[in-house]
Amino acid sequence: MIYNFDFFKLSGRLRNKIFFMTVFVSVGPLIILGFLAFYSLNLFHRFDIAGIEDNLINQKTEEVSGFINNIIGVFELRVDYELSSPIASSSQNFILNELLKSNPALEEAAFVNTISEEINGERIAVGKETAKYSKTYPNGASDDVFINKSKLESFQQAATGKIYSGPVYYTLKGPMISIASPVLNANNAVINVLTGEINLSGVQKIIQNSRLGNSGYLYLLDYDGFLIAHSQASKAIKTSFKSQFFASDLLKGEKKLGIGGQARYQSVWGEPVVGAGDYISKFGWAIIAEWPANDADLIVSTVRNQIILFSLIVFIAAVFASVFLADRIVKPIKILESGTKRVSQGKFDQLVEIKTGDEIEDLGEAFNKMTAGLKRLEELKEEFVFIAAHELRTPVSAIKGYLSMVLDGTVGPVSQGARKFIEEVLVANQRLIQLVNDLLQVARSDAGRLTIDVVSLDIREQVKTVVSELTPLSNEKNIKIIYQSADVPGVMADSVRLKEVLVNLIGNAIKYTIGSGEIAISHEVKAQNLITHIKDSGIGISTEAQKKLFEKFYRVQTEKTRDITGTGLGLFIVKQIIEKMNGKIWVESEEGKGSTFSFSLPIAIS
């Protein structure tokens, strides 16, 4: 298929309609689908991010809480005796030693006295440590470093039976928290307080073991907004996050999970991020996951670009397909259109050729059948005319012969009255003969059987012969025929046919001159042609009539021509003959002022 790039001149209304409609129909849904695809992609992506971040946060919160709760759980001591006396000194040391050995996160553990009574003859101050093990004193501290904790909140709270866990403090060994737990006897009375310092390096490890896409990270903040742990060491900063809106909201107890909690903002490290977070109420901490937007949206950007690219390709394809389609539909219609034009001009020979393999091809075939039918009809008509004219010629000639013999008196005298009628019949018969001859002539011409035999001849001889033959007729009407026969070259023509032409044209000039008048015949040499003018002073021909003058069976119908007889074939035949002899015929006329018929013939080369 070769595209007709004239298309882009936007010519042809149907083609444009088809093109634009096809583009609309194909690209419209594409755009709507693109919209929906983008929308759902973004929405699902937000859900995905929220899901991934929330999962990480929940998992790490659980791990961190588990880590601390495990140690706190170990600190919940209970003895099975009912006495309100502290645990024996040796047992205290044993327990602390075991605690430190089995819990690497424990920096220090100590038993604190809560009993004010004298035990074994000794009174120990309430709040005073009675045994202490730590990383510094792995074999137990001596009593000169035992501290009196009676004024400390941790001890005071644990002494009332409640577990205490303090704020995070930051040591060179890492972040730590203090805990204090009551030791209960069988009656649920507090007989000791067990205090401990927990190193949160384990929590840091939990946070450090977090992965979030390529560059996402997780961090943990204490109650005051200070960083306990960060999954990316390079991002560890010392200052408080409390002034940052996201962290500060979380530290106030808000949860920022799910698609509603997730937010996009500029992180304290200056990067646009998608953040989510949770408040760990038990410790007053905040856990935050931040995912740099360009990393988190990487998939979306890629898919979005692919959709745009795909849409563009489809759009271009649709445009080309539309051009193709429009062309395919319009081209056969154009072929049909030119076919109908040919038929209207009476040309039935050329068939339309449409190979589209669809209804339009069927239409083309039907059109061809119709043309063939019309052609057959035309042939039948011509055949009928030829046969009819041919069959009529013999009887009318016989009538003419016998009537002439009757008038000549071959069969006896003819009365004056009978002679008059027979002469009328002869005139009518002569008209009939003329008609039959004309029809035959036309039928021959249509069938291509008009034979022309051109030779070089002197047109003046022909003109003079015809003028002398027609002089009785002109004299009858008192019409003067002037022939200016100057020195003219010979022409190529068929002498019999040329005579027919002259008889016709000069005869018409006499016929259409009403009353007396003048007919002037002249010649003119123009290029390689000899033009003959026959000018009359007759009634003239209207412009309308001039256009149809040389058509078959055309007769000028006016008040003045009503009584003039004729077949309407004369000028048609004249035109056929002139053209067969490579000449041309035309008329110049003005109503009431006469007409000039002119024809040209090629000059003979001597």
Partner: protein
């Protein structure tokens, strides 16, 4: 032209396509919320935000009374250097980066003009020694005509807050803020500056705003191995106005940190409580 009726819908169509493109290109890239601006507040003297302590210049001397020159600790420099390094790290960590120590050790031991009994007092902190040694150092090491004056010692910017540190060949552990004007009493000065009275020392030392004295033994003797460095920082903390968080009569601590019960802990696992840090402007 017949195409005119197609031009308008086509144009709207094109605009829609472009708008859709723009919308999806930028959606999901926007930053919803911008951070609130935080107001920067420098760290300052305990309870007094007029005096910044963002940069502390700590000038440390090993001071030996005249009659104890035989007791000069051979590795005096080494035993000072590591603890000073440690307390610098500890300080920066506790202040969350809001204050830093730049320490400098005087290059040789200072043999004091008088014997130990001249400086030492009966009180367990040895406040008398602190004042006397500081005054002597002021005269001998910081005045241009002093016999110990070194042109290149502590000439570098002294920071916002210069502190004089004395490692004393003798007993004592004490520190505080210097009241140098001498017009008011220590009590009046404390009130005026909104500082705890216990950490104000009236003395004529111009070169520093705070000072402390610590017995050399805390840094070298095995019995103080675990908490000697904590003692060093504890006394240093007094120099910017932090008071003790324990009762001087009963010894009962009301905090677990380095200013209270925590002074018996190793510096490694020590801390400054948030109550104190708030007073110092190191946290809100």
């Amino acid at each position: 032209m017949a195409n005119n009726k197609f031009v308008k819908p086509l144009f709207i169509f094109a605009v829609l396509v472009v708008a859709a493109g723009v919308y999806f290109w930028f959606s999901g890239r926007s930053v919803d919320i911008v951070n609130r601006q935080s107001v920067y507040k420098p760290t300052h003297l305990y309870g007094n935000n007029d005096v910044s302590i963002e940069k502390i210049k700590l000038m440390v001397f090993y001071a030996v009374p005249g009659d104890r020159s035989g007791l000069i600790y051979g590795k005096w420099r080494e035993i000072m250097k590591k603890p000073l390094e440690k307390i610098s790290d500890f300080h920066k960590l506790q202040f969350h980066g809001g204050s830093e120590i730049d320490y400098e050790i005087y290059p040789k031991p200072v043999i004091l003009e008088n014997s130990g009994s001249f400086y030492d007092s009966n009180n367990n902190g040895n406040a008398k020694a602190l004042k006397l040694v500081a005054e002597e150092l002021e005269k001998r090491a910081f005045k241009k005509n002093g016999d110990l004056y070194l042109e290149n010692f502590a000439v570098s910017p002294r920071g916002d807050y210069p502190v004089l540190g004395i490692i004393y060949e003798g007993f004592g552990a004490i520190g505080g803020v210097i009241e140098e004007s001498g017009l008011e009493s220590e009590q009046e000065f404390a009130k005026l500056k909104n500082l705890p009275e216990s950490v104000i020392f009236k003395t004529s030392v111009e070169s520093a705003n705070g000072f402390f004295l610590l017995s050399r033994g805390y840094l070298s003797e095995p019995e103080f191995e675990f908490y000697g460095q904590s003692f060093l920082y504890h006394e240093f903390a007094h120099t910017f106005g932090v008071q003790d968080y324990y009762d001087h009569e009963t010894g009962l601590a009301f905090s677990d940190d380095i200013m209270g019960a925590g002074r018996w802990r190793s510096l490694e696992s020590n801390f400054i409580s948030s109550d104190i840090l708030k007073e110092l402007g190191a946290m809100n």
